[in-house]
Structures are given as C-alpha cells and as structure tokens.
Symmetry: C2
Subunit: 660 residues, 2 copies
C-alpha cells in the first residue's frame, strides 16, 4: 500500500469517525496512545480486570416508566418520570413450568406438580433447547400469550453417536459422555408438543415437511394463542417453510411463505406481530434483497418490503404505527437506530453520534435507552424519547485506561481479495512506536460466521491481550473477512462449501498490506486464533508456510466432518455431496505443509470442537514426523475461562516470545 | 569428587573390567571414542536402526543335541554333535486349549471344541494372566506335566473401576474403556480352576487364606500332577504362603512354608523340582538371607540353603545332581554362570570373561550356550559343555558403530547417599571432548524397581539417544539407585512407603559428583525419564528446582493413588495406612515448586499410567499459574513406539536444544 494515502485521523470529535476514505486501504479512525509513562498491563489485569473496562449500566425495562438498572453487582429501579431511584429486590418467582432431569413439570396452584412430558429414556429430552443452539434457539419452553398452553421441544438423540470425555476430578477418573451429531451422521429428531393447561392433554405439531431430519425453529405464538408459527427447515438448510399450526390439535393449517436458496437459508428470528394485530407480522430475511431487511407479512403470505436498505437491519420494537430498528447502513462498523412508519415507509434516523448504539425500548415504545461507545468514547448511556430526543444522560463513563501505557489503535479498511468489499481492521501499534524500526506482527483471527471483530466501539473492540502484546513490542492486527456477519448475504455466504478459503484470501489481503509497511518485519509474522480462529490459524500456517513463522491455534476445527451437523452442514453441505470441499478444507491434508512453529491448545473436555480434531491433527504431524506443540487444559470446555485463561495467555505469549 | 582419583582404565582386555576401585567414586571401565571423523547419528538411526545393534543369535534348545537358531528373521536347526545346520520350518501346532474372547476351549481329537470355562459376563475372564502381570505372571493356562489336567486363572473384575480412553481412529471417535484397579480401591478377584480332561469336570482351588483380596501366584504342578503349588499372598503383600492343593478336588493339602516381611514379600518364581524327584524342590527367595538365593525344600517345608552368596542369584537348570545358576556375586554389573553340587554345596564358576552372560541350557543339562558382551565387546556366543568347557564359537559380532562418531563411554560408581553402596553409572562424553570447556548435562533416569540401567554389556547398556545427544555436545549421565534390582533386599526395599525419596537422594549423589567436575556447566543440568523415570524427572525438577533447568518427563506417575493396586500397594502400602507417604511423594503437592522448563509427554491411550496422572499435574500447574509444557501421542500406549518414537525423540531433543 502507498504510505502517502495512509492518512491518520485523530479523533477530535465523534462525528468525524463516520467518514470512509475512498482510498483502497484507509485508516478511518485512530485512538492515540496514552502517555508512554503509563503502566504496563499485567497478565492478570489483561484477562481478569473489570476495572479496565469502561463503567457500564445494564438497563432493562420494568414497565413503561421504570428501568431496572444493574451496575457492579447491585441493582435498583429508576423511575424515569420521577427521575428517582428506588431499591430493587428481585425475588425470583418460581416458574410455572420447570425442568427436572429431562422432563417438564407444571406447578399447580395448590403447590403440587404434575408432569407435562416425562422422558421415556436417557435419549429423550423435553423442554430444553434443540439443534445445538443454532437458528437462535435458546429455550425449550414457549408459553402462549394468554398462558393457556405451553409449547415445548422434544429431542430424541437415540441415533446420535456418543463422544467420550475424561473427567479427571473424580477419585479414579471417570467417563463423561456427550451426544455429538457429526456432519453426515445420524442426527437428533425434534418434535414440538403443545400442552393444554386446562385439560392436561398434549398434542404434537404435525410437521412432516421434510421427514426425520427437520429443523423446527423460531417458534412464535399468534397473539390470540390459536396458532403456532414454526420456521421448518430441511436438513440441507436450503428450504424453509413458515408454517402455521393449530394449537389445540397440532394440525398443520398452512404454509405462509417459503424461502429457498441454493446455498442456505438461515432463519434466526421469530416473527413479530404488529401491535394490536393478529394477522399482520414483521418478518426478517436476507433471502429476498441480499441483506437482512424487515418485511410486513399477512397470514396468507402477502409480503411487502418494509426497510429498503442495502445493509443488515435488526428489529427493535413496534407500537402498531412505527417500527424501530437498528442497521449497518451508516457503516458496517456502526450501529444506528431508525424508525419507519408502517403505513408510508417514511424513515427517520434517531442516533447521530458516530459509534455503536445499543437500544432498549420501553414496553409502550415511548422511551428507549441508548448505550453507545466509539473508538475514543468509552461509554455513554442516554434516556431518549422514542422519537430520538435525549431526555437525560444516565452515564458518561471515564476512560479507565488513562494510567496505562495504551498504545495507538487505528480502525481502517482494506480491500477484500475479490476486490468487491472493504474489510475492516484494527491495528495496534507497539509501545514507543518508531516508524524507522521494524516490528514483528501478530495477526489475531476469528473469521467465522456470526462474528464481527472490528466495530467502532471503545478501542475498536480491542481484546486487552492485543494491548498486552503491543506494550511488549508487537504490532497486532485484527480484521474481519468475507463470511463474517453484518455485511449482507453475498459477503456472508462466500464461504459456502469451502470454509476458510475466502476468509484466508481476505486475511492475506490484510497481511499483504502489512508486508508493504516499512515498519513491519516481514520475517516475523505470527498468527493466533481460537475455535474457527484456530481453524483459520492452522489454515494460514499450512497454506502460507513461508509467510507465518509462528502460530497458536486454540480449540481448532481440523476437519469439518468432525464438526456438528447443524452448523457444519449449513456451510459445508453433507460430506457425501461435497467431498471435494471437505477434502480441500481439511487440515489433515495440510499437516505435511507445516513449516513454522505451531502450538495448539484445547480444553480437554471441549464439547463443541471435540478433541478428535486437534488430536487427529497432531497424529498426522507425528506420522509425517513434523514437529508441532500442544497444550491441553484438562478441566476446560471450549472456551478456556477464569484463571485457566490467565495461564493460557501466559502460554501463548511465551510461545510468541520464544519463537517469533 | 577429587579429580586425581578419577582414574580411567582403557579396556585392553575383558579381564580388567571386573576390578572395582576402592575410591569413593571410580571409573571402572571406559570405552574409548571412535574416530571423531565418523558419521553423526540421524534420529531415524538413533531410534529405528537395527544395524547399529551388534549382530546376534537367539538360540533355543530343540532337543538335547540341537538348537533352533534365529537370526535376522530366518531360523535353522543346528545339530551340535554333527556341527551341521539343517533347515527349520516351524509349523505352529494348534494349541490344545485356546482362548476365545474371555473363555477357554479344548480342542478335541476329532477336531471339535468343548468349553473348559465360559465367561458368564464381560467382567469375568478365564485363562488369561491376572494381577496385571505382577509376580511374574504372564500366562493364564497351566498344563499338568502329564497333560491329564489343565489349571487356569479366573479373573472377576466386576468391582474394578473403569477408566475411559478415547480412540480417535474411528469415524466419530469412540470410547475404549479399560478396567483399572487403583491403589486403595476395589480390586480384581482371582481364582484358580483345574479342568480334568478325562471327565470334563472343573474344580476350584480352595484358597481362602486371605479372603477376597488374594494374589494366587507362581502356579507349579508337581511332576506327578497330583499337586498344585501356589504362592498365595495377602493384599498387603507382607505375608506369603506356599500352599499345596490336591488337583482332583482342589482341596487344600498343606502350607509348606510361609514368608513374612514388614515391607513386602514379592515371590516372582515358580518352584523347580529336582530332576527325578516329586518331593524335593528348589525355591528362590530374598526373604531369608537378604539376597535372592536358592534353597532346597521338601514337601514338609524342611528347607536348606543351597547358594550361600551375598548377591542375587537366578536359577538356570538342574539335572538332579547339579544346579546351574547365574549371579551378581562377581559384580552387580556382571552376570556369571556357576554350578553347585546339590549334595555337598560345592560351587564352581563357569564363565570368566568380564561382562554379562546369558545362558540357555540344553534339556539334558549337558550343554549350554553362553551369549555375552561387555563394554567394548559387542557380542560373543559360545557353545559350551555344562562344566564350562567351550566347544565352539557360534558368533563373534563385529562392532557396528565403527563408522560413527561414537564418543567415550565410562562405567563407574558413585557412593549412595546413605554411604552404604556403590551405585553404578555410565557417563557419555560429548563429541570432541575438551576438558577445558564447559558442557551441559542431561541426566537420563529410570530408577524404579526391577530395573538395571547400567551393566557391563556392550557400551554399558547405552540407549542410542544418549549418543545422539553426546554427539551434539551434551554430557549424558545414567545411574542406578537404591530401589533398583540385582542388589539385594535392603537396597531394593529402601524405597518402601516413600517411592522416589531414596532414589532422588542417590541420583543427587551422582549429580553432585558431576557438579564438581570442571567441565560441567552447573547452570545447564537437564533431566529426562519415562514412566517411573517420568516420576523421577518431575520429582527431581520440583525437589531440586535450583539444580535442574530443563526436564522432559514421559508417561509419569504423579500420585501413587492413581497407580495400580498390585505394584503400587507393594511399594507404597494402602493409601489409608500410609497417608503421609502418599502425600510426601505426590507431585500434585510439588507442582508449585516448579521453576525450570518441564515438558511432559504421554501416550493418550496409556493403559498403564493412565492419563489422570499427567493431566492432573498440569491442572495443578494451571491452578498455580505455573508454566509447563505438554505433548500427547494420540495413538500411543504407555511406551511410544515405532515412528511415533522418532517424533518423540525429536521433540525431546528440540526441547533441550531450545531451553537447556
């Protein structure tokens, strides 16, 4: 890249951050270094310190005029009308339906319990999430709006293969076995039951669209509780039907609309009924105009586009007249609030400070809280009217990093490998940066779907370990790539059937940009990532063995055939119908290309990316007599947390210090 | 140590090797370096080459006058009378009794099969070794001398806890579960059955000396097949009864003799009947005169000492008139053949060349083969008469190392920490050794019971990797210590209830001797060992954190409570009655002392030292935020073999090269 166009904008006011330069690679915002005399981060602080995150308030609406505010472990109720705080003592009420083991029970009014659905065997689970949390599924119990009925998931895992984990915390060591459906293998069978409180009967939703392997997602009750809407997908995830079922019998009523895509459809949202209407709903999809936009849809499937923006949009609330939504239309690294009038489509932008705005709307849609930050603004929380007028500032957080030797952080863009997109990056410069010197680089990478590593939030979404390394003399680079979220369907689906390929190409566009910087030591490029980022790390190490000298991969996917059905087959297809894609992306086939120093770390009881992956990779290295390093965290699951995480980052750091 | 008494004897003739100097530490033999212009070993050669081992013959007596000779994968019959070789084509005859699954079957003469004992469940195993191969138990089927009956083990593991291993070679990964009885936990129950071929009946030996937890060891038939001798131990292994049972009914006849020891009794041999006698046997124990000696014993337990040497003795054969045995009486690092006249105890030494002699006696006790080597003698195999007269030389192997840059190897002694014993060591000097320079040291350690690392065999029992490291500039030191074998009961049992303590003290006596050598770099002492040696490595690293800079431990025992009942309780006692011993030796309690760089390697499906050990140790390091390194061999059991072993030794080497 041409240095002359590497223009650096110091953040003088938040407004200037919205600008995107027209140059091929551009710095769009910089957060200058603190005084160099500041303290260095310790590893404990890096990983565990809360005081280094800006002060924050978590606000949840209690009713139309009061907020429950959570801060630093305490909570209170704030009445917005009276501008007054009152104590809040939350007494969790016992839920009416509750899970015990793998069954669901109902608490009766006389204090007794009666079963809603009792598990017949260890293979059957009622009332818990299904499909391994994909498709936005987090719960397994869904109350009707009038509380007359409760819908629930039934999951049958009898055909799902088991994976053994070793629990070393018991006296003699013991088996912890999980069910894990791997791509191409038998999967779980899911049904939806509806329990009628009054007569105690259960009927099952008669969903037979796609046979045994169906995904029953995004369950939504109609406001009058007569209907249940389910977004039903086939196993290939290429075909979705938004079906309506009758909630007394479970009978199929109709298919309201369908979505088909030769890559995949990925419904992630329920539908939202227009306030006061039982026959009109708001529906979000990226399958019609290339971006996740909002649509108005009636029960016959008559559908009208509501938002008309070439950017991903997220639903916030509606009051029957307006719909509030946030979107990436100002910039993919910013999140702004808009409202649109349902009847005429007139749109108003409500937030203007450059940065990322998180919105919580009151039940009556008359107020919202706007909690936002940007690269140099730690955190501001305002109470606003729903037309965007600021009522009151609830929080303006101080910069918690001022005593520390935080270095310069820039937010910029680099052109994607296919030339079609700007990919966003943050670059953290070393302490006492001297452009005449040469510095080693650590690329931290994730790169997988549903992620966005770079945002115009405080310090551009910096992970504190990056600063730890920058303080110790490294340039740290983090970039999003094709496949990540919030950039529309084409960008996101570029990875289909070939995970890692477009992502690597885009990461290499960033690395090539770095290699042209005069202060980058070309011989000392490192890479680190976890999970999908572990997969990316090893992919980069083995596809570009002459570029990357040192890598640390955590909990890496090694071959998609060992990853789960739901996520894996969406992106990679069934192994039988995409053998070349599985072969191309498998790191088993790449192990022999490894030249640099590679450390793999993994939680030894990881139930997400099972141990099969990393152990198989090192096995392959052993077969080819290629040295590789490894470290397991014996009691850690997929993400190594707490004090283990301090140890992990010491290990990662030591590895780069020893070898990069 | 005083350099002036470090006298070096070059091996001029084999005879001089037998000398032991009286100085506190003495070099007793040195094998000079080859020409320095020789080749360096590659790692492949180091681990896998067969051509670097001296040529060898494996001789087994076919009958009184012919030997079956195995060499380099081919075999022939050598007639000693005719001095003639004839082809040997071994056709394995089908065994009469055979194992299928966990049951034993008999092949009938008409080609059918009938069951001897069929397993009732997965917990019950017939006809296979028991007690995890301790007490010399290798088989589970014992034919009567007249083939009228067959005795067999029955093992019930229903109370033994299971340990899960992960098999990554299957499509989705799968569970490989083993039974593993840990110290202090429920163990296996063993019985001995006797099957009568003629009437097809089974009777069980009525052994009820010590209840559920008994060891039934060293099963021996009387020559007339009427009696079965079993050495029965209690679980504490402090009490042994040599019992006679009637083989028709299984009834107990009598206890012939007992052994009791407040540390442990460890019978490891059957009894050997004096040829032609049904009522007189040869019995070996170290429980009567401090060394494993041979005794004559009749069926009433009248016992007479046969060998009277303060050294461990091994039985070879008897012809009714003489007993042949080898012993350590010349030197613990040498093994020599003797014969003793049964009637008058007159003893003759039969081998005289200094070194280690392995003897195979002909069935009629008229000839034996003597296969021997010493530090500078690669291998000689002679055919001799049983009175020690050499008849013919069968092999004189050439030195296979001559083209290689093999360095100087010395065999010497250092005083044990308690001042009572000479411990033997070998010291390998670096290539192009210059006494004016300083060299790093690698201590390779095993140190556990039943081992002897240093012998006066070719290159003093050198492991080739030591030479690999010596060629790359390291001093390599290997020493036996109290607890190892072939040195008598007191020496061996010094470790009782405190494994690792006497061993460490003795290893440190050796290290302190090294630290006084002018050419040792005191700041660069490394240590490496596997299994018990892994335990020793981590014990040394954590007990002497200021001495050892780098360690590599393989398959280490970390806490004896996780090791098996049979071996573990013998040396450490039951955890309930020796809590202070378990606490003192547990490396879990030592993890926080670790200062140096430590790499732990282990086979991930190790069924001997289960993964609980090393994973628990690194877990403890993680808790205390102490860095440690780890590498698992995913498809390796306790000993990492074949190509994995090449990779392992590259890894070990790299670790020392990077950090020592």
């Amino acid at each position: 890249m041409n240095q002359s166009i590497m223009k650096t904008f110091t953040v003088l006011g938040a407004m200037c951050l919205g600008l995107i330069l027209s140059a091929q690679e551009s710095v769009i915002a910089t957060r200058q270094a603190n005084s160099a005399s500041g303290r260095m981060l310790t590893m404990e602080e890096t990983i565990l310190s809360r005081s280094l995150s800006p002060e924050n308030l978590y606000c949840r609406w209690h009713d139309d005029e009061s907020l429950i505010v959570f801060k630093d472990g305490s909570s209170w109720i704030y009445n917005i009308r009276k501008d007054k705080e009152i104590p809040y003592s939350h007494i969790a009420s016992e839920p009416r339906a509750f899970i015990k083991g793998q069954s669901i029970y109902l608490r009766t009014e006389d204090g007794g319990t009666i079963p809603i659905a009792e598990s017949e065997s260890g293979d059957i689970t009622y009332g818990q999430f299904v499909s391994r949390n994909e498709f936005g599924i987090e719960d397994g119990i869904f109350w009707a709006p009038d509380s007359s009925k409760v819908a629930f998931y039934r999951k049958d895992e009898s055909k799902v293969s088991r994976f053994p984990l070793l629990d070393i915390t018991t006296r003699t060591g013991s088996l912890k076995e999980i069910r894990y459906p791997m791509a191409g293998m038998d999967s779980e069978n899911v049904q939806v039951g509806i329990y009628d409180i009054e007569n105690g009967s259960v009927s099952y939703v008669k969903a037979d669209d796609f046979g045994y392997d169906m995904y029953l997602t995004n369950i939504t009750w109609t406001p009058d509780a007569s209907g249940l809407l389910i977004q039903v997908l086939d196993r290939s995830q290429k075909h979705m039907r938004l079906n309506l079922y009758e909630t007394g019998s479970g009978n199929f009523v109709k298919t309201i609309l369908t979505e088909d895509n030769d890559k995949y459809v990925e419904p992630q949202d329920p539908v939202w009924f227009v306030k006061g209407r039982n026959d009109l709903m708001i529906y979000r999809t990226d399958n019609r105009h290339g971006y996740r936009n909002l649509y108005l849809c009636d029960m016959d499937g008559n559908i009208r586009r509501l938002t008309e923006v070439d950017a991903d949009v997220a639903y916030i609330a509606n009051d029957g007249k307006y719909v509030w939504y946030t979107s990436a239309e100002v910039s993919p690294v910013e999140n702004h609030l808009f409202r649109i009038k349902i009847d005429n489509g007139k749109t108003e932008r409500l937030t203007f400070e450059a940065g990322w705005h998180e919105i919580a709307m009151s039940p009556d849609c008359r107020h919202y809280t706007d909690s936002w930050s940007s690269i140099a603004v730690p955190r501001v929380t305002d109470l606003c009217t729903s037309s965007g007028k600021r009522v009151r500032n609830l929080l303006t957080a101080a910069d918690p990093t001022l005593d520390y030797a935080y270095t310069e952080i820039s937010l910029g863009t680099v052109r994607s490998a296919d030339g079609k997109y700007d990919n966003y990056y943050r670059l953290v410069k070393p302490k006492d940066f001297d452009p005449e010197k040469k510095y080693p680089v650590i690329v931290y990478v994730y790169g997988g779907p549903h992620s966005q590593m770079v945002k115009n939030t405080f310090l551009a979404q910096l992970r504190r370990w990056e600063m730890y390394m920058a303080q110790r003399g490294y340039l740290v680079y983090v970039q999003d790539n094709r496949g990540t979220q919030n950039r529309g369907a084409e960008f996101e689906k570029a990875i289909h059937r070939q995970c890692g390929q477009a992502e690597m190409a885009d990461q290499m566009a960033g690395v090539n940009m770095l290699l042209e910087l005069p202060y980058v030591d070309k011989e000392r490029i490192g890479v680190h990532g976890w999970s999908y980022g572990g997969f990316m790390t090893i992919s980069l190490m083995t596809n570009y063995p002459d570029i990357f000298k040192v890598g640390v991969a955590g909990g890496p996917v090694i071959d998609w055939k060992w990853y789960e059905v739901m996520y894996g087959e969406r992106y990679m297809g069934h192994p039988d119908e995409n053998p070349e894609g599985y072969a191309m992306t498998s790191l088993i086939n790449k192990a022999r290309n490894l030249k640099g120093k590679l450390l793999i770390c993994q939680g030894a009881i990881d139930p997400v990316v099972v141990w099969q992956h990393s152990l198989s990779f090192i096995r392959e290295c052993i077969i080819h007599n290629i040295q590789v390093d490894y470290f397991p965290y014996p009691c850690a699951e997929h993400n190594v947390m707490g004090k283990d995480r301090v140890h992990l980052h010491d290990k990662i750091t030591t590895y780069f210090e020893d070898y990069l």
